[in-house]
């Protein structure tokens, strides 16, 4: 575990005290903490490199442009995309999905169908509801079973020649289930249906290979990968991104503008209107470097160990029930405790320095499915330790004692 202390020392915020206790940060599915390298890069940009990108002929603009575009190349390598222009920088996963729902919406008509799942984050649900309202398309929902796994038989029944898009999450943010997206993509492609994967909870935890996976679109956020907030990635296959109409109009996304007619720029700029989060995108490279140097294999092994250990310890607490018990889970555990409200538990754990998330986790439909108003959720990152889980368990037991 001494090695883990070295990892924690790379993340300055983890040294903080909260309510006179050393911070135990277990809310990584909401956002991860940032290593020194990312923080230093943001600082460096504003200290020495700040300039707007792409159009400037002066030195600073060229430096900023080069570094910004280098982040695109590093992102391409990180997910093994075929081309760097298949990487679109957005504000985050929510923005990426909204881009797709808005642009696809222009191509959809009444009678078309979109399939999502019951366990989607509101971010992969509401944009499609809005898209359906605008286009007249219909939304179909893949249900999930009692342990929080998608019902693929139902999916097979739902998908038809009316289906135009399937959009599902790679890993459920409230249940931790790793969905069989490869199978979903295979079934969809047999019917010539395009697949969007919400990878917000996956990209920091499992190795991604776009060419092997064959997803048509894949979305994720930098801030859940030890990177800055306000930066997201939309990966899309070149031919499909070319077919989609632009999302927002403005600078950067144009080729030629006259007063009445504009021709659009090529990929990726067609989808990057306006000045982006330049510092964020540049610093994002450092977070990808951190993950690559650490190795996603090592990350997964460590997080699986934390998941198994925490699951066992939590299950030994009387009255505690884990929600989402698929055999294929990522580093997320949602649970409820008999007769204890999640808000009360979250508040008391905070007093003991433990940061967890409580509530419906922006997945109200799945909470209704399990007939609960919310859960307490812990989620791990590579810097978490077995000792922190021990502290969590002590804190939960103390809270239960106070509350009952």
């Amino acid at each position: 575990m001494s090695n883990k202390n070295n990892i924690q020392s790379l993340f300055p915020i983890l040294k903080s005290s909260v309510n006179n206790n050393k911070l135990v940060y277990l809310d990584n599915a909401a956002t991860t903490q940032k290593p020194n390298s990312v923080i230093a890069e943001i600082n460096k940009f504003y200290l020495k490199e700040n300039s707007n990108i792409h159009r400037g002929v002066h030195h600073l603009s060229q430096v900023a442009t080069k570094k910004y575009e280098n982040s695109r190349l590093v992102t391409q390598n990180f997910i093994n995309a075929r081309h760097s222009h298949e990487i679109i920088f957005t504000k985050g996963t929510t923005d990426s999905i909204n881009l797709l729902a808005s642009s696809f919406g222009q191509l959809l008509k009444k009678g078309d169908e979109i399939i999502i799942s019951e366990m989607e984050h509101h971010s992969n649900m509401v944009p499609w509801q809005m898209c359906c309202e605008r286009s007249g398309a219909k939304l179909k929902i893949i249900p999930c079973n009692k342990i929080g796994e998608l019902d693929l038989d139902m999916f097979n029944q739902l998908i038809s020649n009316k289906t135009k898009i399937v959009s599902v999450t790679h890993i459920s943010n409230s249940l931790g289930t790793i969905n069989p997206i490869r199978k979903i993509i295979e079934i969809s492609h047999q019917k010539n249906v395009q697949v969007i994967i919400d990878g917000a909870q996956a990209a920091a935890h499992v190795k991604l290979d776009m060419q092997k996976l064959d997803a048509d679109f894949y979305c994720f956020s930098a801030h859940k990968l030890y990177g800055p907030t306000g930066v997201g990635v939309l990966y899309g296959k070149e031919n499909l991104l070319n077919l989609l109409p632009p999302y927002q109009g403005g600078g950067e996304m144009i080729k030629d503008v006259s007063l009445l007619k504009t021709t659009y720029a090529d990929l990726p700029h067609k989808f990057e209107a306006g000045t982006p989060n330049i510092a964020g995108v540049i610093a994002f490279k450092k977070s990808l470097d951190f993950i690559t140097e650490t190795g996603l294999g090592n990350i997964k092994t460590h997080e699986d160990k934390l998941l198994d250990y925490a699951t066992e310890k939590l299950n030994s607490i009387k009255g505690l029930k884990i929600i989402g018990t698929s055999s294929d889970k990522s580093a997320i555990i949602s649970f409820i405790i008999q007769d204890i409200h999640h808000y009360d538990l979250g508040l008391l754990l905070d007093k003991m320095g433990v940061a967890i998330r409580t509530g419906h986790h922006c997945t109200q439909p799945i909470m209704k499915k399990f007939k609960i108003s919310g859960t307490s959720r812990i989620s791990f990152a590579y810097y978490n330790t077995i000792e922190e889980i021990d502290h969590l368990i002590l804190a939960i037991n103390k809270a239960i004692k106070m509350l009952s």
Binding site: N19, H341, H342, Y343, D344, G346, L347, L348, K351, T358, G359, H360, S373, G374, M402, L403
Partner: protein
């Protein structure tokens, strides 16, 4: 003679002053939550619900002998503890006194974070709703 709002606030601040650590303070709050007079279940309606992102509050008000009597409940015990304090301070008071109440005792006993989480608990909305009742009953009286 009823105690005034500021007298009750002062009393609560003194009560909380004796706690040396957060555990004792929160234990007391939990006890308050458990001892809150029960709201009549018929008043636990959608109309009387004040929703927060995490917990919710039910609030009922009636006017008796020119004072307002509040009863309330919450699904979370911590929220319920603060609800109990608010009721102790504001229930059985005249509408105009309720409207004037600043309720700074909550900050003074170190529980202001409970109120600032407006989306979380519905407590801020509860205070607002209590004042709206006071305003409405004042017009009626």
């Amino acid at each position: 003679m009823n105690m005034s709002i500021s007298e009750i606030e002062h009393e609560i601040i003194e009560e909380f002053g004796v706690f040396e650590n957060w555990v004792d303070k929160y234990d007391y709050l939990i006890d308050l939550g458990k001892s809150i007079p029960k709201i009549n279940p018929i008043y636990k309606t959608d109309e009387n619900t004040i929703s927060g992102c995490q917990s919710q509050v039910w609030l009922h008000a009636k006017c008796e002998n020119s004072v307002i009597v509040f009863t309330a409940d919450s699904d979370a015990i911590m929220t319920k503890g603060i609800v109990a304090l608010l009721i102790r301070v504001l229930s059985n008071q005249k509408p105009e006194k309720i409207l004037d109440a600043k309720l700074d005792f909550i900050a003074k006993i170190g529980l202001e974070e409970q109120l600032s989480q407006t989306r979380a608990t519905g407590l801020s909305s509860m205070i607002k709703q209590m004042k709206i009742y006071a305003f409405a009953f004042k017009e009626k009286l």
